[in-house]
Amino acid sequence: MNPDLIGRTLTEHATAVDHRGPDLGELHARIAGVQRRRQGLAAVTASAALVVGLTIGTQLLGGSDGPQPAPGPTLPTGPSGTGLPFRPDQTEFLVPDSAREDASRIHLVERHQNQPGSPLLEVDVNIDEDRVANTYFCEGAEPGLWLVVRTPGGGGQVSPCDGTRDLSWTRTLAFNRYFARNTSNLTPRTQHHLKIFVTTADGRTAGRRELAEGMPAETDARFGVSISGQTSPTVATLVGREVSVLGEGFDGRDWWFTRGVEAATGAESLVVEIPASEADQFVQVVRGPEAFDRAAEPDLRLDGEHVPWPPERTPYLAFLDDPCTVVPAGAPHTVEVRLPPEPRGANWAVAVFEAGEQ
């Protein structure tokens, strides 16, 4: 039995699932119903225990002072201690300068490239760092070629070769991927086996089997993965996402995380006043995990002007999944983020960074 055929069959049918929902209201109603039934059961259990207890007490002790009723099932009574708290107003915190003492620089961990002519690259990577950013690249490819990455646990990605490039051998690093979260398919402090190959199959429509079958016998493409890492403590958690104190930009400057502002729960916008500063600052919109895979587009405005996103030309292009902008030094500025109504319950924030040494 061909494993690829099984995988392809399952994938094809799984993609036929209707992608509506989730209906949180319906789910909440269901939970409330189960909770009511449990509470009713608890009351009945407690009443029955009380009756039995009183009866036994009366019989054994010869009086009406029976034992206490047996406790019913324990029910959740309060909000989760791990959830993001309800915020009636936007909240802000500042990162103390002392946090910079423990910062470490971002460095290239590993870089792997295919053998000349080979369409397949399989590598084991060990990641000891706390934060990881990785770039899959494919250069010099013939038109129509797609790059396929498969990671353990069913993860992976397919992208056109002409849409990727390797930037990691220069002093480059992704802003929000570094400061706010790791890349989606490599987990810090873990060993990974990566299978990377090029294919002539159409990556937009092909199933797993077609992708593998479309692997050419040889290729001119140079492709692989660059992995960079940073071992540096988390100084803050912003809408559930860990933020490191230090990042580096494509321009070679250090960027220090100085301030985080979380939007009020359910707010339509987030406004941050940026005082005049001697150094350039950088503002990054941060979305909570609940909005990771949602087509939600926040509107970032600097001094009332919409910041085009994605920008036509920027040194940060291809790394950032939410709007960001450099805020020039020398004058106060107002940053506003108009937040999308969907997904409901999503949390939003901005992270403010300050330029350091070149």
Partner: protein, 165 residues
């Protein structure tokens, strides 16, 4: 009902992924949604006790609940109040249809192993952890499932041979 915003965030973020796995187990959109909602309801009550990533926990509830449903078959004639519109797509190849049909004949434990191994791409040890069984059980269920699939497809391709074997 107590507010659990992080639970809601988890549901919003992972609903579709959970639904796809549930669909492969149940092979029915309505039942898949019911299965995921049932699992998430159980997760809600356990939310404060779950440490770390809740997804393996809820996936385990999904596979276990599906197995118990299958045993009880209480849902077999359930009515649904809405018609589900599946996304349009090309008809799968005939060999794929045969395999899909054969997958539907597998008992729930074997089907779960196949889905976890070949769709979710889990290792044997990860599958064992997900199902709450030993690696040996995963291996034996896997082997039996493949044997059943081969036999089913062989019978489909050659009914006469299958009938006499």
């Amino acid at each position: 009902m107590a507010e659990k915003p992080e639970f809601d965030a988890f549901v919003l973020a992972r609903w579709h992924a959970l639904l796809r796995t549930a669909y492969l187990l149940t092979r029915d959109q309505g039942r898949a949604e019911d299965l995921v909602q049932t699992a998430l309801t159980k997760l809600w009550f356990a939310w404060d006790r779950v440490s770390g990533d809740p997804e393996p926990y809820v996936r385990r509830i999904i596979t276990n609940t599906h197995t118990s449903w299958w045993r009880r078959r209480w849902w077999s004639e359930r009515a649904t109040d809405r018609v589900v519109e599946l996304a349009e797509r090309d008809a799968p190849a005939e060999e794929t249809m045969d395999l899909w049909t054969a997958l539907g004949h597998l008992p729930p434990g074997q089907r779960a192993v196949i889905v976890l191994r070949y769709f979710d791409d889990l290792t044997e040890s990860e599958t064992a952890a997900q199902l709450g069984c030993s690696i040996g059980t995963v291996k034996s269920q896997h082997a039996k499932a493949l044997r059943h699939l081969r036999a089913d497809i062989a019978m489909e391709e050659n009914p006469a041979e299958g009938a006499t074997s």
